[in-house]
């Protein structure tokens, strides 16, 4: 523990040094560009070619608010580190999180930059189409509550691998579960890291893309290694509060601008958008051909993928009991639902206030929609249109906090799959001490953090649009069906779970590789062999069939024992008898 404390202070010193340097560098540039901005407050006056990053003034509000957030979260991390002693503290915050706290943390874990900036951007470009994502990303939650949350809390210890391997053979089932968790976590991390790098670099151009990602990585490693789940939870809670507050303010700003009339908001948006009334009819992205199967597959993926994300499932082990798990989903669902309705208003508000505005649009003679700094910026610019630099600074800091909170949750989920499933149960077969396991976990956090930094930098110029499809497809086709089968179907055996699970992993990856997003757009290999972006409608039934056939044809002795063990698993799942005890208050 002592070595960690020393390392913690070293990291703290490093972080403050880094930020101080950054502030200094920014100060100099700000002073240098100050006269220019005073003369030409509108960037429109500057020809597009001259708008080099160095000429953009530093948004001091953003930097200051960002530093405050980092400072507060580091203090929390220190507090959490002094209270993180056991493995249960590290992985599950000592199981002392209340329902309301976990509901906020769930919202903070789940509302990623992809849902905040992403849905707003989808609505901004396509109108109605963005709503499909809002709805699809929400309806997974009631299903999690009705079928999974309480049973997961009753059966598991730290990971979803605990639950699927509850009565099955530890080695093969945990290996499969850990592999699928890690694939989801690592790809999700890449998406978040690239988003963070681009966002930070756009807002504070004096800071390079690489440095932005290194800062994100260093902060995450600090939070999670020292503060474990406690720090992660509180970072997520604060972030959820900031994000909900910020989005509410933005939506109120938009509605105030539109005289609090939805009719006016939507008709103004139709008038402002170059596709006019088409934005109200876009059941597929504007310009794309209607494709019923794709729509259905997208719908399946969004809903079931949510219920299979390892970092989300892990949150249920942090609460005191199944009752708190249940409550936390109710709170989480309401926060997330409210937030998604807000992003929809924000997206339409951006059409009215950001599109056509030469201050934000990259080249207005070419397109009135394409923004400076890329596709994820509509919500960020909307905040500027509504509340100037101060509000932009706030929203930018919120977006950054969002990424940090999601990445912390992901990193911890990935590390727990490596340490708790692979190291402690598969390699050491349960003989590792708690201390060793936590140590491996911390090393995994550092490893994953560094990996995220490298991959984030490597993927800077890559098209990362397929990442959402990839992660949600694997979660929907592997984690979700195997989890549900293991809880509800007596007949599932190790053979069925493992073969079904790998069918999900390789099926999703394989079909994504030969699908339009990767095969055509990323690899440039011409028309896709598999013509759909989302493979769930093929892979999910395949997983169920494989798991079913492999299980019913399994006449081995161990298979019989596994079926017989279902009864006592069910008693524990239904009553909570024997489940991990929560902290008392």
């Amino acid at each position: 523990m002592k070595i960690f404390k020393i390392a913690f202070f070293a990291m703290l010193a490093f972080a403050s040094l880094l930020t101080a340097n950054l502030a200094l560098a920014a100060d100099v540039t700000a002073a240098a560009v100050a006269p220019t901005t005073a003369v030409a407050p509108s960037v429109a006056a500057v020809p597009a070619a001259v708008v080099a990053p160095a000429e953009v003034p530093v948004n001091w509000h953003a930097v200051v608010m960002f530093l405050i957030f980092v400072g507060v979260t580091l203090v929390i991390t220190y507090w959490a580190a002094t209270r993180t002693k056991t493995a249960t503290d590290f992985y599950a915050a000592g199981r002392g999180i209340t329902g309301l706290q976990n509901g906020m943390a769930i919202a903070g874990d789940y509302m990623s930059a992809a849902s905040f900036l992403g849905i707003a951007a989808l609505v901004y470009m396509n109108g109605f189409y963005g709503l499909i994502f809002s709805v699809g990303w929400l309806v997974g939650w009631p299903i999690i509550l009705f079928l999974i949350a309480e049973r997961l809390r009753n059966l598991g210890k730290y990971t979803y691998g605990d639950v699927v391997s509850f009565r099955l053979s530890q080695g093969p089932v945990r290996t499969m579960a850990a592999i699928s968790s890690l694939i989801v976590v690592i790809w999700y991390l890449i998406g978040q890291a690239v988003g963070a790098g681009q966002l930070l670099h756009t807002l504070v151009p004096q800071m390079s893309y690489q440095l932005s990602i290194v800062i994100v990585g260093a902060l995450i490693i600090t939070y999670v290694t020292f503060g474990g789940m406690k720090a992660t939870t509180w970072v997520q809670i604060i972030k959820a509060g900031l994000l909900l507050g910020g989005a509410t303010l933005m939506a109120i700003g938009v509605m105030a601008h539109e005289g609090f009339s939805f009719a006016k908001l939507f008709s103004d948006a139709v008038a402002a958008h170059p596709k006019h009334l088409d934005i109200m009819k876009s059941v597929v992205p504007i310009g794309a051909k209607a494709n019923p199967i794709e729509s259905i597959s997208l719908g399946l993926t969004l809903m079931l993928g949510t219920a299979g994300l390892p970092h989300i499932l892990m949150r249920f082990f942090t609460v005191t009991d199944s009752k708190a798990a249940r409550k936390s989903v109710l709170y989480g669902t309401c926060f997330i639902g409210f937030f998604y309705v807000l992003t929809f208003i924000i997206g339409f508000g951006a059409i009215v206030l950001v599109a056509n505005n030469p201050a934000y649009v990259a080249n207005i003679s070419k397109s009135v929609l394409d923004l400076k700094g890329g596709g994820s910026m509509p919500a960020v610019y909307l905040s500027h249109a509504l509340g100037g630099d101060l509000f932009l600074g706030f929203i930018a800091a919120v977006a950054f906090a969002t990424i940090l909170a999601v990445v912390s949750g992901l990193t911890l989920a990935g590390a727990s799959a490596l340490s708790h499933d692979i190291y402690a149960r598969v390699i050491m077969k349960g003989t590792a001490t708690e201390k060793q396991e936590v140590w491996v976990s911390k090393m995994s956090v550092i490893g994953l953090g560094i990996l995220a930094i490298f991959l984030g930098i490597a993927f800077e110029k890559q098209n990362v649009a397929y990442i959402v499809a990839l992660t949600f497809s694997i979660a929907a086709c592997t984690n979700f069906p195997i989890l549900v089968l293991s809880i509800f179907w007596r007949g599932l055996t190790t053979r069925g779970a493992v073969l079904g699970g790998y069918t999900g992993i390789f099926g999703s990856i394989g079909l994504l590789l030969i699908g339009p997003t990767v095969w055509t757009k990323v690899l440039g290999m011409g028309p896709a062999i598999f013509p759909y972006d989302f493979p769930t409608f093929v892979v999910l039934p395949a997983v169920l069939i494989v798991a079913y056939i492999a299980s019913v044809t399994d006449s081995s002795e161990s298979g019989k024992k596994e079926r017989a063990a279902y009864d006592s698993q069910m008693v524990r799942a239904e009553t909570g008898l024997g489940s991990e005890v929560g902290a008392s208050h």
Binding site: I132, V135, V139, P142, F266, K281, V283, T575
Partner: protein, 103 residues
Amino acid sequence: MSELITAKILKNPKYLQLVKQRDTFAWTLSAIVCVMYFGFILMIAFAPGFLTQPIAADSVIPLGMLIGVGVIVVSCILTGVYVYRANQTFDPIVNEIVREASK
């Protein structure tokens, strides 16, 4: 958990009834959410014209937007319904079963 307690619970008719009752409730609610959501998705896939019709002759707001927001709101309400019933009805039964078995 001792096997004795498990065996006791498995023989308790209250347990069997609880499981049946709660499963029916949970799967019914899940079915409602799925029907609602996949109804929305199937309309997107096969009847986009229905969703894109304006809610009134002089309005640009499509019907699908109200349906979509409706799905979100109803989902939140249903989670509330489940939590309420679980707290009121199921938890006391679970506690009773556990108490009886631990005797």
